[in-house]
Amino acid sequence: MGRAAILTDPQAAARSGADVAMLTDLSECIGCKACEVACKQWNQNQAETSAFLGSYQSHPGILDNTWTVIKFVEDINESRDMSVESWQFIKTNCMHCTEAGCVTACPVDALTYGRMGTVELDVDKCIGCGYCEKGCPFGAVAVQAQVFDTDKKAGKCTLCVDRITNGLPPACVQTCPTDCIKYGSRDELIRWGRERVAKLKARGFANATLYGENELGGLHQLYVLLDSPEKYGLPVNPQVSPVLKAVRQVVYPLGKFLLGATFFGLLINFFASRNLSEPKDTDAPKATVQS
């Protein structure tokens, strides 16, 4: 293999079909954004015109055609001299959750648990409703706002499922000049990540941690973080919105029951009431009428 980025032979991974993942070692990321470019190129995504943010960050965030963005996190010491305490980069993209909010939210099953541990988006099925965007605890899938147009669809990182199922590493992994984005079997990456965290701790990064091992049933995008997740803008204990779960698990079944019960109740009534007579003169309850 010969590359520090590839932990499992991609050909063997494609053949076995077992869960793979990416692991981004943020202690080695230099924020060069080559991954962003490779992602755009491989996936043939249009460039997005966006405002200059005054920082090294290229885009404000993930968009329907911008699937990976390196966010620049500056930790400024406001109490002393406004000096930058730390300056971190985090490559954000779809986390390919085991329990995915977007899959729960999607009303047309365009988002599904796909091959090799990925969360797959079928763009042909997508209707652009934006439920996935509001179901994702990471803000990793987006649909452009729309008032009346019908051509906007969701877009997100595919984990290069078209490459990995054919024995190639993801495009961003392929291009990363520091090999900080790793690709391999998920188990292998977790083993590697734990060792890496131990080394970083020994080197004085007391808060170094491996992110994604257990979050949302296990993410297929793992991180070696130099500091706590909040410092990178990552949720400490990400959850699929309980309101979203209630919509799917309580309101939908109750609603269907209510409508179904009404329908069958009326059907039974239709046959039961067939012999009842329509109001005739004599039927009018005249006795109750006030004169």
């Binding site: 009303p107 047309v108 099953d109 209707i127 652009g128 409703c129 934006g130 439920y131 965007e133 509001k134 179901g135 994702c136 605890p137 990471f138 803000g139 706002a145 008032v147 009346f148 019908t150 051509d151 949720p235 919105s241 309101v243 979203l244 209630a246 919509v247 309101v251 939908y252 109750l254 609603g255 269907k256 209510l258 409508l259 009404t262 329908f263 009326l266 009534n269 239709f270 039961a272 009431s273 067939r274 009842l276 007579s277 329509e278 109001p279 005739k280 003169d281 039927d283 009018a284 309850p285 005249k286 109750t288 009428v289 006030q290 004169s291």
Partner: protein, 233 residues
Amino acid sequence: MAAATRAKTGNQVKNGKVRRFGRWSIVCHWLYAACFLTLLVTGFGLMYDWLDFLAGAGSRLVHRYAAIGLAIMPLLYLVGSGREALSHIREAFRWSKDDLRWLAVAVPYHFTGRPKPPAQGFLNAGQKLNYLVVITTFVVFVTTGLIMWFLRPQLTVADQGVFWWAVMLHSAAAWVAASMFLLHVYQAALHPFTRASLRGMIDGYVTLEYALFEHPKWAQQFVGQSGSKPANR
């Protein structure tokens, strides 16, 4: 005999038939029904797997256009029907003990004809309930729909709960309204006691015998009025 007489209440009597709804109210009713049905069908495409052929970017667009129609319809109704609309809405919110008793026996009564429910006014308790469901779900549909349509881009990851509360109320309102809609259509078109009422929403008139049967407290005023003699059926 054929000449219509206008009662103080604005009601009319003609050929043994009494006026129930004004022309504009009828137009608004059917336009609201058309918008509602369109919204129901395009919305249920997202909720029922067997209706997923109705879900699509195009049907989402239809949903949004029909939503505009639904949203402005009550305004047209209130402006166009004025006093009639207000008096109906006021009556829908006025509940007596007789209304509760009517509801309590409504199910066995509509299955077997017994026990006889208390006499009702212009709206029976079921129709009052229909009005209240329509008004409540209208408010829910419009407010939560606006949140889902226009506020989505502004809601951050931390505010996702707002979006899902909107979806929850929107879909719950859809099922409540759909169930009431089925009941409403059934009563108006099929049930032997009340199917005579459908004419009231077509040409605006119902027979006096039906009015006396279903709404005696209201219809009593027409007995003996010029032109009110029940026609032979």
